[in-house]
Each structure stands twice: as C-alpha cells, then as structure tokens.
C-alpha cells in the first residue's frame, strides 16, 4: 500500500488531495487565530484556500510535477525513457501521460463528458421554461443552471475539445514525433478535470452554485454566495490549461515542422490553431485578472468594484470582454480549420484561395482585439467608444466572409462525398452564415440597444457556437474517428444524428430570434404569458436535439468497441496524419517525412504532400511536381 502511495498515480493523487485540504485548515486556522477573527473555523475561508491548494495536492500526487521537482532538486539529469508515453490499457488514460495522442483522446473524451453535463443542464432549463411560472426549480436554481451550462460548455467543452482534436492530429500533420513540451501538455490536460469538477461541485455548497451567468458581472458576483468562487477559481485552472496548450502548439508549430513544410505548405488546421493559440496567449490573462479582482473583492474585501470607495464597476466588463470577445474566435477558428480540411478532402478539390484563407485567420486575430466593447453598448460606458467599435465589428465580417465564399468555391465542380463529416461541414456552412448575419445586425448600435440581453442574443450565440463550433466539432470527430480509434463509425447512425440535430437545432434556436425581438429578456426563469407558445415549441425541439446526442454517443461507444477496422487512409486524404497507420504508431513516424508539396493538391495528377524518406536521400520526384503546380486556372 505504501508503495502505491509513493509512486505517482491515482492513489497518491487522492492522498495529495486530502493533504491539500488539510493544509488549507493548517493555513486558515492560525491566521484567523492570529488576527482574532470569529468564528475560528470559517467554512468559507477554508473552502477558498482549499480550492487553490487541493488541486495542487492532486496534481502533485498524480505525478504531474515529478520530473520538474527531480530537475529542480539538482539531481543528475534523468534521461527521457518514454515510460510515460503511450497507452496499452485503459489505465494509461488515467495517469500523467506524455503521448500527444493519448492526451488528445483524454481531452476529447473529457470534454464530451462535459458536453453531456452541459446539455443535461440545458434540458432542465428548457423543462422549466416550457411553461410560464415556476414548475421544477427555484429562480435561484435556474440562475445556477444557465450559469453552469454556459461556463461548462465554454470553458470545458468548446475550448478544450478543439485543443484535444488538435493535440491528436496537429503533431501528425506537421510531421512531428510529439508536442514540443510533452510534460507541460500532460499538465494542461489534468488541469481540465479539476476546473470542471470544481464548477460542478458548486451545486453542493451552501447557497447553491454560482448564479451570475458565465459573465459573472461585478458587483453581483462580488457579493454572491460561496458557490461563485468555484467559478472564479475554476476559470483560473481552465485558463492556465489553455494558455499552456496554446504555448505548446505555437512552439511545436514554429520549431518542429517536417523538412519542406514551409508555413505556406501547412494544412489550414495548423494555421487555424496557430492563430487561435496567438489569441489564447495574448487574451486569456485578462480573464484571469478579472477573476482575480472578483476573488480579491469577494474574499479579502478589496475595493476594485466598490464605487463608494473609488472602484469602477465598468472596469470589470472591459477587462472581461477583452478576453471574452477574442474567446469567441478561440471557439471558432479551430473549427474553421477543421472545415477547411474536410471540405477539401470530401469535395476532392484543392482549397480555394489557400493564402487568403490563412491571411483571413490572421486578420481575425488582429481585428478580434479591437471589438470587445460591442458587448457593452448598453452598459453605460463612454459613448464615444461605441461608433469605432461598431465599425470594427462590422469589418470583422469581411475576413469571415472570405472564408465562407472560399469554401463555397471549393465545393464548386468538386466530387462531393456526402458522408457524415461532410454533412456536418455543410450544415456548419449554412448555419454559420445565419449566425454571421445576425452578428452583423448586432454590430449596429441602434438594433443592439433594443435586442441586447434578449433571446435574440441567445439565438445568435447558439447559431455561432452550436451551429458554428459544435457542428465543426462533430464533423471533426467523425472525420478523425478512424484515425484516433482505428475503427470506422456507423455511417447510417451518423446521418440520422446529423439530420435530427440539424432540424432540431433550427427549430430550437430559430424562433428565439423572434421572441427576443418581441421583448423576452434572456436569463429569466419566468416570462410574460405572450411568449408561452413559442417557449413550449422551443422546449420540445430542444429535447429532440438532446436525444440526437444520445445517438451520437451510442455510435461512438459502439463503434469504438466493435466497429470495423479502419484503413490507414479511408478518405484518401493527402495530409500527413493519414499516411500512417490507424491508430498511428506509438512514436507517430519511423522516420520524419519530407514535405514536397501543398496539403490539398486533389485533382493534380500524382500529387504528393509528404514522402517518407530521410531528408538526405533524394525523394522520388512525383509526377507533375506539386511545388511547381500551376497556381491559377
């Protein structure tokens, strides 16, 4: 038993967790005794310290820091023996694993778990909203439901699931044996379950879960019950996780590309994650700071948001949105990357305007930092900020439009393979346009004055995050499922899943535009009688969406266990991840491939993207050399 507690792993992690909690008492009690605070044992104070200390105890026990401690203590350098790399049984997914493929699956499965949780919370909300008046939950519990729903799905589903998919395929795509910092990669994964567990645990504390929305506006959040701090601190862990991953992606992309893979030969998924990672590294510290302010105000009585003492309430919103608007692109750009891969492969054509696709990603990164205050048009901020923000917000639709039109042009005259990934990609294309259009309407100050904080906003955000991001996630999961698991998914169930989701989604969120315009505010547990009909309709449709997700889960689980074996390259794709076996070998490649052409040269006779020869040897010149292939037609 002691041996198990000394070796890194789950038992020691449990011990670390307990020690972390014990440590919190050990810190809080003496401090309170010293200052003469009453009562000596204060649940709030201990919980706050434990929220910070216990996760570190857990991570330490799990072994996330072992190697670094070893290094720091000045012992002789330990050679990398790859003992933490790869998975042979399911147990290997529950330890610190440095293999990017294992981490990718850990990430994806964990975030889909949180999708189901977040979805279940949405179902509860729709049940309550099916009729006016209060039926199932109290108003406070309802506020908790939508707050946790949004926080979980944003911080523990959409952002990390993209990091998970990219974790799996990105090193393979650029011909790298792993990520640049495998141990940091493992740590960034293990921060996630901590953040998610924390947010869910908030339901159990006195006063209920945090109930101030995912935006947690001060001063509502600074004098909310204890549950609020589970968000405030949970977000720090999720944020640290995404900064660490982003840093890792950037370094990997810059320093570990295969020979011959110049920036202009990178697949667009790599470009998309490059852009996203830039956003994450630059923007995420702002939400960390905003939550630090809330924490300091709430726990230690600071005055950042106390107007009587010189604090500024609107400052919270500026700092928060300076992260959270770029976060919208953090939640969308990787999806753009996935769609580019799928549309090109499934239409059997090169992506139209490859360079413009990459440039428009970078344009979105830059413009993304100039629009944050469009979330604050009715917040009472200085009026002169509004018009410049309206213009930048409208302009950001231009690079997005370029991408949409380029995808359409890629479809044109292609040979469209209409299987599940492609259906979701096309579903994305049609739905995201609607989300984009309502986005442009929302840029117009006079319109947004009327519809901000209404169901019109709820509709818009779900058209971009559900019809946008989630559709790309489904597309990506179906597309890389054979590569990740070595099995094929069930095509028929996949198509059923698509059609129910697509129709149910539109029936759910389409009418929300109307009731929002008509005057139904968002985040309400109860509403005026006039909206009863539409709300019942929306609730029923949303249950269909919920059910369709179960089909997806069944398809994934059953196919992973017993689906037919997948070939190395079932889609006949050119990018490097498809040139190795399914699932890929433990170290990805026996030799690093050499890249000799663009990633999307479909239709070019004999085109090859990468060849598996050592760089020194002469690669067999593919017929019709791709590098010199005509750029225009």
């Amino acid at each position: 038993m002691t041996a198990r507690l000394r070796a890194p792993g789950m038992p020691r992690a449990g011990l670390g967790l307990a020690l972390g909690i014990a440590l919190s008492y050990a810190i809080v009690l003496p401090v309170r005794a010293l200052y003469g605070f009453e009562p000596l044992v204060d649940g709030d104070a201990v919980t706050i310290v434990a929220l910070l200390a216990a996760p570190f105890g857990f991570l330490f026990g799990l072994g996330a820091f072992d190697y670094w401690f070893y290094w720091a203590s000045g012992r002789p350098t330990r050679p990398e023996d790859h003992s933490g790399h790869g998975a042979t049984s399911w147990r290997d997914y529950f330890r610190v694993n440095t293999d990017h493929k294992v981490i990718g699956i850990q990430y994806t499965v964990t975030s889909f778990f949180f999708l189901l949780v977040g979805g279940a919370l949405a179902m509860l909300m729709r049940a309550e909203l099916a009729q006016p008046g209060m039926q199932f939950v109290s108003t406070d519990a309802f506020n908790g439901l939508f707050s946790v729903h949004a926080s979980i799905l944003i911080f523990l589903f959409i952002i990390p699931v993209f990091a998970g998919l990219a974790n799996f395929v990105l090193p393979l795509m650029i011909g790298a044996p792993d990520m640049a910092f495998p141990r940091l990669n493992a740590l960034s994964y293990w921060l996630l379950p901590i953040a998610g567990t924390m947010m869910l645990l908030s339901f159990l504390v006195p006063g209920g879960s945090f109930a101030t929305g995912w935006t947690a506006y001060a001063p509502l959040s600074t004098d909310a019950p204890l549950g609020q701090l589970f968000f405030t601190i949970g977000v720090q862990f999720a944020g640290a996780s995404s900064v660490a991953t982003a840093l890792n992606f950037l370094v990997t992309i810059i320093t570990m590309r295969a020979p011959g893979m110049s920036f202009w030969r990178m697949p667009l998924l790599v470009w998309a994650n490059f852009s996203t990672s830039l956003l994450v590294v630059i923007a995420t510290p702002f939400i960390a700071a905003s939550q630090f302010f809330v924490l300091l105000d709430r726990a230690l009585g600071f005055n950042f948001f106390v107007p009587d003492r010189g604090g500024d309430v609107l400052m919270y919103q500026h700092v928060f949105w300076f992260y959270s608007h770029p976060a919208v692109y953090i939640m969308m750009l990787p999806g753009f990357g996935i769609i580019s891969e799928i549309i090109s492969v499934k239409a059997r054509k090169p992506i139209f305007g490859y360079r413009m696709m990459a440039f428009s990603l970078l344009a979105i990164v830059v413009l993304g930092f100039t629009v944050w205050a469009h979330h604050m048009f009715v917040s009472g901020m200085q009026e002169w900020i509004r018009v410049p923000m309206m213009i930048t917000t409208a302009i950001i639709a231009v690079p997005t439009g370029i991408k949409i039109f380029s995808w359409l042009a890629t479809l044109w005259r292609g040979v469209l393979h209409l299987d599940t990934p492609m259906l979701f990609a096309l579903g994305f294309l049609t739905m995201f346009v609607l989300g984009g259009i309502s986005g442009v309407m929302l840029a117009m100050i006079p319109v947004v004055i009327h519809v901000s904080d209404t169901y019109f906003i709820v509709a818009h955000i779900h058209y971009v995050l559900f019809g946008g991001s989630l559709f790309t996630i489904f597309a990506g999961v179906y597309y890389w499922f054979p590569k990740m698991t070595g099995r094929m998914y069930d095509e028929r169930l996949g198509k059923i899943h698509f059609w129910i989701t697509f129709i149910g989604f539109n029936l759910t969120f389409g009418p929300m535009h109307l009731i929002g315009m008509k005057g139904m505010p968002r985040r309400v547990a109860d509403y005026a009688e006039q909206f009863a009909g539409w709300n019942l309709f929306i609730s029923l449709a949303s249950f269909a969406v919920g059910l369709s997700t179960l089909i997806f889960v069944y398809n994934m689980v059953a196919s992973w266990r017993g689906g037919p074996r997948a070939e190395a390259n079932p889609w006949r794709a050119l990018t490097l991840e498809w040139q190795v076996s399914s699932p890929p070998p433990i170290f990805n490649f026996d030799q690093i491939p050499t890249v000799v052409g663009g990633p999307y040269e479909y239709g070019v006779p004999g085109a090859v993207h990468g060849v598996f020869k050592k760089p020194g040897e002469v690669a067999p010149a593919p017929a019709g050399r791709v590098a010199t292939a005509p750029k225009k037609e």
Partner: protein, 201 residues
Amino acid sequence: MEAASVAHAEHHHGPPPANQSSRVEPQLLGMLLFIISEVMIFGAFFTAYFFIRVVQGEEWPAAGTELPVAIAGVNTAILVSSSITLHWAESALKRDNRFGFKAGMVVTFLLGATFLFIQVNEYVHIGFSPQDTAQGSIFYGLTGLHGAHVFIGLLLLLFVTIRAFRGHFSSQSHRGVEVPGIYWHFVDVMWIVVYTSVYIL
C-alpha cells in the same frame, strides 16, 4: 554528471528525432511566449489602475496616504543590480568560471530576496490597506502581483543555484540558466514599469 544521461540510449526505441524547423530553441521560444502572457496579465492590472486613477479620476495616492518613493527607489536599485549580477553569473559560466558563476547566482538570489523583504516591510509600515480604498486595492494588486512574480523568479533562481553548487551547467550547456534568467530580467523590467507608474507618476 551530465554524462549520466547517455546510458539508456541504446536499449530503448525512442521516437525519431524531430526536425528543427526554426533557429530559435523551443525552450527559449516557450519562455518568450509565456512572457507575452505575463505582460498581458500585468496589462489587465494596469487597465484596472487606469480606470481607477484616470477614468474615475481618483486622487493618487488616496487622500491622507503617502507612498515611500525613496525607499522603493532604493529597492528598485537593488532589483536592477540583481539583473546585472545575474548577467555577470551567466557570462562567468560561459567562460567556465565556476566560482564566478556560483558567486553571481548567490548574490543575485540574495538581492532578489532583499527586494522581497523590503517590499513586505513596506506593506507593514505603509499605513493603508487594500480594504480602505480602490487606490489601496490596486496599489496592493499591482505590487502584490509583481511580488508574486519575484517569488516565482526567486524559486527558479534557487533551483539554478542548487544545481550550480552540484556541478551542473557548463559553457556548453547553459540553457537551464538562460531560460530562468530571461524570466528574472522580465521581472526586473516589469518592476521598473510598476515603479514608474505607481510611485513616480
């Protein structure tokens, strides 16, 4: 001692060596990107400072309080000189001057620790608390955030110093000194910005 790392190489089949597609080393690039992130978190705290002091137009420092500009100035000098001694230690290492390297690391660490001690002492004697006013909150917020960075930086320096005394690093292998060193220089530069805006302006 570095030689210990060679032993395992043959009996294990590892991954193929990755292609190095950039002249920048991964560790260096990682640290630079991390520093960008750090600059942004300071940026967020400076945003709060800007809103309280400029947008709200609150008196600075709050009425009836004073900031010990002179003591903090001396403290700034201490921190800046620690950057110089760190540079000295690094160049000694590059010439394989082990005594100079070790002495430089110890002096740097002590200077950094002195800075932190004086900063804490300043908190004790300054005469206002973050609970009094928003100005107090952001004063403690900014200096405290910086203090936390000094603390982390000191930990990194401590590790380097321990390893220095155990005979690690040489003129050929000094990345383990350089990367924490960059962080320490960043902490110093950041202090100059904090000192200028909070104490002087």
